[in-house]
Symmetry: none
Subunit: 279 residues, 2 copies
Amino acid sequence: MDRGEIQGAPKNFEALRALILERRRELPKRLAQVAAFALDNPDEIAFGTAASIATDAEVQPSTLVRFSQTFGFDGFSALQAVFRARLRERNSSYEDRLVELEGGDAVAAGSAAILNSFVGAAHRSLDNLSAAIDPQKFESASRLLASAGTIHLIARRRSYPIATYMAYALSQLKIRCQIAGTASGIDDDLLALADEGDAAFAVSFSGYAPETVAQASALAARGIPVVSLTDSAFSPLAECSTIWFELVEADHAGFRSLSASMAFAMALAVAIAEERRRA
Amino acid sequence: MDRGEIQGAPKNFEALRALILERRRELPKRLAQVAAFALDNPDEIAFGTAASIATDAEVQPSTLVRFSQTFGFDGFSALQAVFRARLRERNSSYEDRLVELEGGDAVAAGSAAILNSFVGAAHRSLDNLSAAIDPQKFESASRLLASAGTIHLIARRRSYPIATYMAYALSQLKIRCQIAGTASGIDDDLLALADEGDAAFAVSFSGYAPETVAQASALAARGIPVVSLTDSAFSPLAECSTIWFELVEADHAGFRSLSASMAFAMALAVAIAEERRRA
DNA sequence: TTTCTGATGGAACAGAAATTCTATATTTGA
DNA sequence: TCAAATATAGAATTTCTGTTCCATCAGAAA
């Protein structure tokens, strides 16, 4: 064909996206900047004006035009049309796609089904969370932990990631904390150093790791307040805790989601920081 | 209030829609015509220009302006903004629920608001997840990792909890894995022992911990396949990965949720086990 | 170094956009 | 039926948008 030399101008978003990713390396600096912005903020491209997008992406409007032409479009408007088409299509078919996914599950491979199932479980867990957590108790817990000198985080096995996340978040927020969850025997020694002004946050779900329970009650016996997150009122953790929260995670084939516990932990970390800031 | 006579200008689509329906009868002929067109073709309103919409709706452009002003907007553009906002937000089915929740927040205390906000962010992240992950790529990833002798888990800082969770889940599933994420210098030594039959799973989000990137590319350079989870197509991780997934987590006040990443990690672990069982 | 190639920034331009204005038409109320 | 009020169409206006063009700049090649 006579106009064959103009290769690009993909007319659907996915093709464009693939093309951008493919040629990402060879793009000059500013065009690469536009590429990154475009893929990260597709909605902006769809709705914004060349000027507003240029401002947001910190380039000149002319750069947008050049970018578009680099990919075979006539001008910026033609490229924008692709981003808009994507929004139109996605909207009309979003629900359908979900249904397709679910319908396809039975037929199609197991992996996708597993992923969907976990997503579903996570959603359910989160809904549970909002329903199960008493805001006032949450408030008290964050206040209690905010007043602590050091927060000791006690968790093992499945709950251990929650403690590692809180350790990360709390240090980011400049709140002193100490994690007790490694297999090494030094945990008990570290906890033995816990001060009167300290507090602890313990997490344990059924199957209850014995070390977690032992450490939490040891601290409680010494008068150190313990806040805990567990999944049953009959949990041994509940007995020795000043404040405790019951949170049941939904599961897929026995593998319990951690999404709600994570959301809880994140919120607690930030709430503690808020309390401190206010005080 | 003194400016009470200007009632309208609803700022979200649902409110506008309700208002239009309510006042539909009392509208003059041409304005009613616009009302019908707007509710029947909301996408047109969002994307079109005043002129093109006027043509489609068989009215004058000025009629569109008058219509907008009738409902309390400054001009047509302000009304169009509402139609566009709707398109942007439509992705998440939990949007409505969030609004409700946030409505209650104003009343409730600060801590509870923080908790709700994190729950909302987690829901949104999960919706993102289903939309963003390509099932086939997920399938390939789990197959690739299933065929590995040992799976090396590489993550730091915020992503570290994800690796600790996977380490837990994989060992439960009797799949050999090795975590590389501690501050100690032994990680590199352990990774140096990685076998040809091994594979790696790396997680890093913007802010990209340099050790994670360095270790992942070192493994890739030695021909060891790397599957990674990151938040941008421009992540340095994407470059050196055999398969990579892009997943953007929603956030509350800058604290990004981990819920979707967690769900992904859990699903991946189980999917790997499934693959192995089948093989 | 010097030269050359190509990327970049920014101003200028042409055109299209939204909005306003006004004469005309239509409805409303007595 | 008539007048007053309101709605409408279409032109006029003004604002803003996408694009182009060109001088400058950075980096590669000679």
